[in-house]
């Protein structure tokens, strides 16, 4: 599956068959700080991803101190 990430923008190919939560753990990303979008649709942590899925991991943390 193709996994797209931000900050900085980058793409990596990874094998499917793992859940969203496992994917975030494998990438050392915190679930509370990210949304996962699979083929254009939000998916929950237990969603099992397939080899042909296109995944966007979108960070949700933003902002300065003001």
């Amino acid at each position: 599956m193709l996994v797209k990430m931000r900050n900085p923008r980058r793409e990596v190919e990874m094998p499917g068959g793992r859940t969203v939560n496992r994917l975030l753990d494998d990438l050392d990303l915190v679930r509370e700080s990210h949304l996962v979008i699979c083929n254009g649709t939000l998916v929950p942590g237990d969603a099992r991803l397939a080899d042909d899925d296109v995944i966007e991991i979108r960070p949700v943390i933003s902002g300065g101190a003001s």
Partner: protein, 321 residues
């Protein structure tokens, strides 16, 4: 095709998001419903504004400000937007495009100003010229211009997109330093006083994961990339710390903030109500100030003669996440 066994807590249809702090999963429609309820509760519990009030929403092009503008308009409030062009390179150019597209697509009124065009400086230059951190001069500039736009335009309240994560991170910073003055003023709504407009934060009961999900579900295009200057700042570090705690103990973040508002803020109310002193009008712009010239006009005087500084020279530290 992803396969999930999670069901929505409300309707038992397939869920699109899991929210550990609610110990529940939600489908798209019921996630939106949760967001609407939390915003309505914040507006009502803290008497933020009424349906008759004219609202000015401070918009940046990010998820929170566009989400709160969308929610208020959907709920029937009269809400216009106000955007400040900060001059932070491509980041500001792109944020402006998202804000203008959002307003145009929905036929909403958007007011705007640009620091470089209208005041002769931008954030990178102001930071360098004043020897202050960029987030400090950015906050000072935005607060002054939001206040002025609201007063000049006859708006009843300025709404910002500060969410639960923002407020919890600021609270953590204030507690770590036991900054009682800041703690006393860290409220979801600040009443108008001394020539300043009322300010309200309707998203204080929503995490930024929830406001981001609102935008995704509602099809709102927003600037996902974070400010290149803010990267690595202390505020973002506090967010990371709180999210690490949240991962082990869901709902700790909301308890930290909501219990402060419920239990501690009333004890600090007297401290916060102390008059800000003998305010007078700034001799240059007329804004309320404790000195002869307000901080914004002093910043303009310092930064506008300075040679423009490229954003690359004031970039924040990288390496988060």
């Amino acid at each position: 095709m992803a396969v999930s066994g999670s069901k929505c807590r409300s309707c038992k249809e397939p869920a699109v998001i899991d929210l550990p702090r609610h110990n529940a999963n939600f489908c798209a429609e019921h996630l939106l419903q949760l967001c609407r309820r939390q915003v309505t509760k914040a507006i009502e519990d803290y008497s933020m504004f009424s349906p008759d009030d004219r609202i000015l929403v401070a918009v940046s092009g990010g998820k929170d400000s566009l989400a709160v503008w969308d929610m208020l308009v959907e709920a029937g409030y009269e809400a216009d937007g106000f955007y400040v062009g900060l001059g932070i390179g491509d980041y500001s150019d792109e944020s402006g495009r998202f804000v203008h597209a959002f307003a145009e697509e929905r036929g909403l009124t958007l007011l705007s100003t640009d620091l470089r065009s209208d005041f002769g400086y931008d954030i990178p230059t102001a930071a360098r010229a004043s020897k202050r951190v960029p987030c400090s001069v950015c906050g000072l500039s935005k607060r002054h211009l939001f206040d002025k736009a609201a007063i000049d335009g006859g708006y009843d309240v300025v709404v910002t997109g500060h969410n639960l994560d923002d407020e919890a991170a600021v609270l953590l910073g204030n507690v770590l330093h036991w900054d009682v003055d800041y703690l006393a003023r860290q409220l979801p709504v600040l009443e108008a006083r001394d020539g300043f407009p009322r300010k309200a934060k309707p998203l204080v009961r929503l995490t930024e994961r929830e406001t981001a999900a609102w935008c995704v579900i509602r099809g709102i295009d927003y600037l996902v990339e974070e400010c290149p200057i803010a990267a690595g700042n202390r505020h973002l570090h506090h967010k990371d710390v709180l999210n690490a705690i949240e991962k082990e103990s869901p709902s700790t973040k909301s308890a930290f903030y909501n219990n402060f508002i419920e239990n501690m803020a009333p004890l600090l109310a007297e401290h916060g109500s102390v008059s800000s002193g003998d305010l007078q009008h700034c001799t240059r712009c007329g804004a309320p100030t404790s000195g002869e010239v307000c901080a914004f006009c002093r910043l303009v005087a310092t930064a506008s003669p300075h040679e423009p500084v490229p954003v690359e020279l004031v970039l924040g530290r990288r390496g988060r996440r």
